[in-house]
């Protein structure tokens, strides 16, 4: 256990008990004690006016001085880079301003891989490692884990960022476990600490109600998956100067243990995390067929359709559309909530949207607490007018 109370300094002011968000400190027989709920977050250490709480860190054992370079994994689909790949590049370029280390991308793919690599170079990547094989065209965990882990061991970057897409969040944890390093999931902010030069990783936790700042001090690379749409894409540079490096691999195999039997595009592509505008429907729609209004509005605005859990549970729309705690976390430019009361579980999935418009009959609906523009009114009257006006304009 790495946390200690210095009893000679403690004056039993109990501030630590109050400040601990996890209930990890209690008073027993006139003494402050740490219990099993402690997560070693260090809040009590900072809050204790007596400096009577210490977190003891073990000495660093691994030699991490050889690890240099800021890397990102550039995810592609069908020979095209996802926009989040350009966002990651931009994030890395920003880290470079403070850290001064080289920025490199990694692309694993089948078709068009060199072109994608050159696209990254145009936008500021100094090196792009490409691993190319027809069998790698489609994402599959096992070969991607094998290849990325081996590249890390070969080149020893100090930082590796990947996208918090479904693929990224599925295979990157295994890479981190294989290397034996830390991984922070679904970050919404990253920075370099001016003093320690560590990668500071910020992410929502506790159902989105707390924000946590996380570092990985003694292990390399420092790894994080980054939520799409939290940073702009890297722009094309004036004098790009980067190198394309083709990596040869013999020791990966697709369909090694897990084999793909069938792969089929879904009819209605629901890429809520990539959408700039989301129109969402909830219980207030009263019936599944009324969702047609939501679909029409979303189409006119060039957006995607979301839903509350209530609407999904009622069978009005498929689970891939669900926004919230048991569904997706989204952050579009504009989120339009139609007939959604705003249960905490739903808010957790959308409250970080840039701009929120809510239409609801109940003026006390909790959704209005997070809405920038709250419309108290009947969606069955307002949405058809809105649709008509949008159509007339075109």
């Amino acid at each position: 256990m790495g946390i200690k109370i210095l009893y000679e300094k403690c004056n039993l002011c109990r501030i630590c008990i109050e400040k601990c968000p996890f209930g990890g400190i209690e008073e027993k027989e006139g003494k402050i004690v740490i219990n099993e709920n402690c997560r070693l977050c260090g809040i009590c250490v900072k809050e204790c006016p007596q400096n009577a709480i210490l977190i003891v860190e073990k000495e660093r054992k691994k030699d991490i001085s050889k690890y240099k370079g800021i890397w990102f994994f550039a995810e592609q689909k069908k020979g095209k880079l996802l926009s989040v790949s350009f966002e990651l590049l931009n994030a890395c370029l920003k880290l470079k301003e403070k850290l001064g280390e080289e920025v490199s991308g990694v692309i694993i793919g089948g078709k068009n891989v060199e072109e994608m690599g050159r696209e990254l170079i145009k936008r500021g990547a100094e090196k792009v490692y490409i691993v190319k094989d027809d069998s790698l065209e489609e994402f599959q965990e096992e070969p991607y884990i094998d290849i990325l882990s081996q590249l890390i061991e070969r080149y020893k970057p100090s930082i590796l960022l990947a996208s918090a897409t479904m693929a990224g969040r599925s295979f990157i944890p295994s890479v981190a476990a294989r290397i034996g390093t830390g991984l922070t999931a679904d970050c919404t902010g990253i920075d370099i600490d001016n003093e320690s030069k560590l990668l500071v990783q910020i992410r929502p936790t506790f159902g989105g109600n707390l924000m946590a700042k996380i570092v990985c001090r003694d292990h390399r690379p420092q790894m994080a998956t980054i939520r799409p749409k939290i940073i702009e894409e890297a722009k094309i540079k004036d004098n790009p100067d980067g190198k394309l490096i083709i990596e040869e691999f013999s020791s990966f195999s697709v369909n090694k243990r897990v084999k793909i039997i069938k792969r089929e595009m879904t009819k209605n592509v629901v890429d809520l995390q990539e959408a700039e505008i989301i129109v969402s429907g909830g219980r207030g729609l009263r019936d599944g067929k009324n969702f047609s209004m939501i679909w029409e509005l979303a189409e006119l605005l060039g957006g995607a359709v979301g839903a509350s859990r209530a609407a999904v549970d009622a069978g009005w729309i498929g689970y891939p559309h669900q926004v919230g705690q048991t569904g997706k976390t989204v952050k579009p430019k504009v989120y339009i909530a139609c007939g959604i009361s705003g249960a905490i579980q739903h808010l957790a999935g959308m409250q970080t949207s840039d701009y929120i418009i809510a239409i609801n009959k109940d003026p006390d609906a909790p959704i209005f607490k997070v809405a920038n523009l709250g419309i108290v009114g009947d969606l069955f009257e307002i949405i058809p007018v809105l649709i008509k006006k949008l159509k007339n304009k075109v």
């Binding site: 997560r39 039997i261 239409i359």
Partner: protein
């Protein structure tokens, strides 16, 4: 065939609203009940269904403070045969790497399993990392986001999963680890018999000494990541609230969509 099924579960708070008591300035936590992480309910249910289909046994394991025992009792009430709580001060401060290592050590001790089922992620941390990391530690294949187990035959499992824009049917040899999503099933309500059984059931408690493994890889020592600061997320302040005719309201929305660059 009979199957030995391990389900990993986590106890999480029922609500994540961080409420501060205005008088005492303390975080209100007395009222916060611990529940089984909702995604893990689907994992338990799927484990029970596999047992009903193929025979065998289901074992639930959880790592957490002593009070997490109540989550395992709930799993027994649903029909799980055996439950193990990994609890030890040495496990405190675990990040996902240390957690997955600890669970892997316990799973090795249980041994001889065919399938490990985890929820897609836990509601409190929402990392979704522990499942794939357990699979890596145990060197077994894994399939994430499973929405349907189609079949298990000749030591092979066939699953369906949905990614952002396509679905896949995947086949893997056993033993395998899968993480499941909400679509997979509807968790059952415990029966009266189950509830009675759960009251009397013995929950095994294993500490660091019991599960073997390298103690340096448990808890804080085994965790590369550190939370160095934590603060309350300020939810957006309430904005304008309007009411009026449908015409006026539609115009307000259009005006705002223009301002936001959507139109």
């Amino acid at each position: 065939m009979t199957m030995r099924i391990i389900v990993c579960i986590k106890q999480v708070p029922e609500t994540f609203e961080v409420e501060i008591d205005n008088e005492t300035k303390r975080i209100k936590r007395d009222s916060v009940k611990g529940i089984i992480n909702p995604y893990d309910m689907y994992a338990i249910e799927e484990g029970l269904r596999l047992k009903e289909r193929f025979g065998g046994e289901t074992i639930a394991i959880s790592m957490g403070p002593p009070q997490a025992e109540s989550a395992l009792r709930e799993a027994i009430a649903m029909g799980v045969d055996d439950a193990i709580l990994l609890t030890d001060m040495k496990f405190a401060g675990s990040d996902t790497l240390a957690t997955s290592y600890t669970l892997s050590c316990a799973i090795k001790k249980i041994g001889n399993f065919d399938i490990i089922i985890c929820g897609k992620e836990a509601m409190d941390g929402s990392t979704g990392q522990v499942g794939p990391e357990i699979a890596e530690n145990l060197k077994i294949p894994f399939i994430t986001y499973v929405s349907q187990i189609i079949n298990i035959e000749n030591n092979q499992i066939e699953c369906k999963r949905l990614l952002e824009d396509h679905y896949e049917i995947l086949k893997s040899p056993l033993p395998v680890l899968i993480t499941v999503v909400k679509e997979i099933n509807e968790p059952r309500i415990p029966s009266l018999k189950g509830l009675l059984k759960s009251k009397k059931a013995e929950i095994k408690k294993w500490g660091a000494k019991d599960i073997g493994g390298d103690e340096e890889r448990f808890g804080q020592d085994g965790s590369p990541t550190r939370v160095i600061d934590i603060w309350k997320h300020t939810v957006k302040k309430e904005g304008r609230k309007l009411s009026g005719s449908a015409e006026e309201m539609a115009d307000e929305i259009l005006k705002e969509l223009k301002k936001q660059g959507i139109l």
